[in-house]
Amino acid sequence: MAQSAKSQKKSQSLVVNLVLILICIIWLVPIFGILITSFRQSTDIFNSGWWTVFPHKEQVTTTEIKLTTDVADLKAIADSGSQISISPETAEFIGLQIEEEMPTEEEIAAGAEIPTYDAETVDGVSATFDEFVQGVELDDGRLIRWSGSNIRGRTLTLSDNRLVWFDTDLTIKNYKDVIGGKTVTYKDGQGQTITRIGNNLGGAFLNSLAVSIPGTIIPILIAAFAAFGFAWLNFPGRNILFTIIVALLVVPLQIALVPILQDYVALGLNGTFLGIWLAHAGFGLPLATYLLFNYISTLPRELLESAYIDGASNFTIFIRLILPLSVPALASFAIFQFLWLWNDYLVALVFLGEKNKTVTIAVAEMVGEKGQDWHLMTSAAFVSMVLPLVVFLALQRYFVRGLMAGSVKG
């Protein structure tokens, strides 16, 4: 009985872990996909999925067959829907991927045999044009396929299903292109060279820092002062003011965008760092004040009273006592606010716009303009994610603590 209970528990834990591993894989695959893609050559990205960097079976082209002009009017044949017959007489073989190594001259002199490549023969195949375009399987498993969908192409490829281990050409060119601001050139799916203006993500990265660092510190400083005031100082209107702050906790910031933008245009603050710091301070302050109030108001009363008795002023107490004691709460909120600011799109879009672009704006712009340049977009997305991911993974514990405290009490 005990034995079976134990084994039941074991199998249960196996199922639990399998389910969790499955969920985790699903969660990670999207990130993994763009990480791999960002290191692939642009032409490869256009032509095959990122998972092809892993070992897989693939149709590898071995021979190209050019139809001789004997097959007279291909178009008429195609239009009538009748079959095109390909036999060694009508086909002319070109290009052959030589996989065996050619012997060196000395080896030949020593009597080595020179491999002769008969063109791989195709015994007569007959199929309609559409079937050729889809690919016709030969008896030996090879696939013959019309290359392109144009009948005038007259070229067919012969391919074999082989296991490909790893033949991907990885590069960091995508990152170089996307970080720099100069013009970039790359090849698209058809091998054509395309020239575009770079995205200067490096500059955007700096701008994001200039927004996020003061945008984090300023509201925390202001909120800490206010939280101290609300928690330990007496003044008329204290209750009503703090109640308003609690009410403001979940007010959508959309409510403020139009009027504040109007003020900013009038004051000349639009597009400036000062403007966006103030905006982020305004939108972040209710939560910051509320959280820090909750923390600071629980500090032991005796501690402050003894400081007052020693003749310390409110300001000294705040700087010397309250701030150092509140470091855990300040750190939690700082991480919270930093990630929020770094990842913010709406506020930056409205108040900074084209001037002083942040990374989120730069990446969003790329998605809008260059919807198919995956080699640039994936590397840009990754550049935008690096810093928050590092901060997040390094300081996750603080972040979680802030998150717990910040959940709007239900």
Binding site: V16, V19, L20, I23, W27, V29, P30, G33, N47, S48, W50, W51, V133, S149, A210, I217, I218, I222, F225, A226, G229, L233, F235, R238, L241, I244, I245, V246, A247, L249, V250, V251, Q254, I255, A256, L257, V258, D263, F273, L274, G282, F283, L285, T289, N314, N343, Y345, L346, V350, T360, A364, V367, A381, S384, M385, L389, F392, M404, V408, G410
Partner: protein, 374 residues
């Protein structure tokens, strides 16, 4: 910081001169003016600087953070210069004043200003009274956004919370709990814009044609299973769900972390007693764990509901609100910045505010209940 430092030696040094009221007043005017000039010069420098970007950014950071600190120091110093009764009366406002002023300017007053302009026309010149609200509640565009936000609210919230709860419960029984939880939590660090790129790549569609190899994961899976690739993001109304999945991917981690810590708070004896009484795991979960963490579930649901009402970035980046995926916040953005219709934009913002009002009221009620220390 310069002016603040200069005053210190003076204070102890030339006490005689200082005690004269004239000197006091002059100093009190002088220091703030210096502060103001220093900060203003910094602002101007940042405005027209031609220095390399990295220098500008460093200066901006120092100027911004230092400036705020300096303002507090100077304001406090100034208040302490006043007669004692006044300085005692005013000092609390040095502490709370800036925060209250900024919140007033950026949230409280705009709510009233938006309310006023929601009754005015597109440029804010004349009164149109309820026209903007009639638009907001009857126009087919707006009705579509309401439908979509409802989808986001219902499915986004329930999937995020459901998945979060499932993972929290399962991870609680596994030895590798921390690892699983950090993996699920990681997307929280990614911006919605970044997540947009990630998922757009999954949904990407190459088009119909012979021998096209799909590079989007979803279409590759679908065609691998013998289906036909689809342009997922243009398939209304299903495209909404493809967008909601992104939110679930991002928010499950949040729900999981909060719920996981609540689950750990369920007393083990309670569960053990239930098991001894012969309750199955499922029964113990639904009859003990769930009621025990009900409060936390409500909190998480509330937070994600607010989030789904305000959803903007994902829609903006993925579809721009086209193909039947528009949401309230995106329509607000379009009205205010693309169509420059201030009246309608304000009305939509007010609608958004009305939607979260029950939550505000609940928060206030809760706060009033809790504030014994106030």
């Amino acid at each position: 910081m310069v002016p603040a430092k200069n005053t210190k030696p003076n204070k102890s040094g030339i006490i005689g001169w200082f005690s004269s009221t004239i000197g006091q007043i002059l100093i009190s005017l002088f220091i703030p003016s210096i502060t103001f000039i220093v900060l203003w010069q910094g602002y101007l420098f940042l405005q027209r600087a031609k220095a390399p970007q990295i220098v500008q950014v460093v200066v901006a950071i120092i100027w911004g953070v230092g400036g705020v600190a300096l303002l507090y120091v100077v304001a406090n110093w100034l208040v302490l210069k006043l007669p004692k009764t006044w300085s005692k009366r005013l000092q609390p406002f040095v502490f709370v004043g800036p925060a209250v002023a900024i919140m007033g300017w950026f949230l409280a007053v705009p709510a009233i200003r938006s309310l006023v302009s929601s009754f005015r026309d597109r440029l804010g010149d004349g009164w149109v009274w309820f026209d903007n609200y009639i638009y907001a509640f009857t126009d087919p565009r707006m009705l579509e956004t309401f439908r979509n936000n409802l989808l986001w609210l219902v499915f986004g919230t329930s999937f995020s919370v459901g998945m979060g709860l499932l993972i929290a419960v399962l991870a609680d029984r596994s030895k590798a709990e921390v690892l699983y939880k950090s993996i699920i939590f990681t997307p929280m660090a990614i911006s919605f814009v970044g997540a947009g790129v990630i998922w757009k790549f999954i949904y990407t569609y190459k088009g119909i044609g012979a021998n096209i190899q799909e590079i989007g994961l979803l279409n590759a899976i679908v065609s691998g299973l013998g289906g036909t690739p689809q342009p997922w993001l243009s398939l209304s109304p299903w495209n909404n769900f493809f967008l909601i999945i992104i939110m679930v991917w991002l928010q499950t981690g949040y729900a999981m972390v909060i719920l996981s810590s609540a689950i750990k708070g369920v007393p083990a004896e309670l569960l053990e007693a239930a098991r001894i009484d012969g309750a199955s795991e499922a029964r113990a979960f639904f009859n003990i764990t769930i009621p025990y963490i009900k409060g936390t579930i409500i909190t998480v649901v509330t937070t994600i509901v607010i989030f789904s009402l305000k959803t903007f970035d994902i829609v903006r980046v993925m579809t721009g609100g086209n193909n039947g995926t528009n949401v309230i916040a995106n329509e607000f953005y379009l009205q205010s910045f693309t169509y420059t219709n201030k009246g309608r934009a304000s009305a939509i913002a007010i609608v958004l505010l009305l939607l979260v009002t029950p939550i505000i009221i609940n928060n206030l009620r809760q706060f009033n209940k809790d504030r014994k220390g106030f």
